[in-house]
């Protein structure tokens, strides 16, 4: 069965520092991967999809099939990036498999 692991429950960084939120997955096929974000008191929303290879709000994520990882990165953290981040995988079934989430706190 597929699994998504986000090893950090909480990540604290200073404003302007680089950010890397880790995501590892286990799946033998070719997955579709996503990052979702939930800002305080807002709904969970899609941040980016690996298939679109886009940069959203300065965040990027590269799928590394060799390391089975899809880490989320941003070169310079902003206070407004403070949120809960979830990595998710689609393995061809009806539903996505989510990690347990990482809470990012950007210290001013």
């Amino acid at each position: 069965a597929q699994r998504v692991t986000q090893p950090e429950k909480l990540l604290s960084v200073f404003k302007g520092a680089p950010v890397e939120l880790k995501c590892n997955y286990s799946y033998s096929g070719s997955p579709e991967l996503f990052w979702y974000v939930q800002y305080s008191r807002q709904r969970l929303q899609l941040l980016l999809r690996h298939i679109s290879r886009e940069s959203i709000k300065g965040f990027t994520a590269d799928l590394n099939k060799g390391e089975t990882s899809f880490h989320l990165k941003k070169p310079f953290a902003q206070e407004e990036d403070s949120a809960m981040y979830y990595c998710a995988l689609w393995a061809g079934s009806y539903q996505l498999t989510f990690g347990k989430g990482t809470k990012l706190s950007v210290i001013p």
Partner: protein
């Protein structure tokens, strides 16, 4: 611009009550999902539906049931609410294939006292 609407933002119910959580989407999505979100446990799938009148159990279906009589509406039912069902409940919908991922509702914070 709201596409997935959950009927209540906050609910307080008594132990033993029957509770209905409603979710409506206006995107003509085939799939609909109910999750609960708890600190440290992430998102846990309760039930999902891939078509009208179709339902599948997720990871934690015990104590819950669902109903999907129309494509746009997916209801979560707590048959007899208990305090351990106090949680944030999230509804989501998606196309048949997951290329675009889910669209989530804003959530219902349920407290069972």
């Amino acid at each position: 611009d709201v596409k997935v609407t959950q009927s209540s933002r906050y609910l307080v119910k008594r132990t033993g009550e029957k509770v209905f959580l409603e979710c409506v989407q206006d995107m003509d999505h085939e799939n609909m999902f109910w999750y609960r979100q708890d600190p440290g446990l992430g998102l846990r799938l309760i039930y999902f539906s891939y078509d009208v009148k179709m339902k599948e159990k997720g990871d934690i279906p015990e104590g819950y049931s669902v109903s999907r009589e129309k494509k746009e509406r997916f209801s979560l039912i707590l048959e007899s609410a208990s305090t351990n069902q106090t949680s944030m409940y999230l509804c989501a919908s998606s196309w048949q294939g997951q290329i675009y991922g889910y669209t989530f509702g804003s959530g219902t914070r349920l407290t069972v006292v």
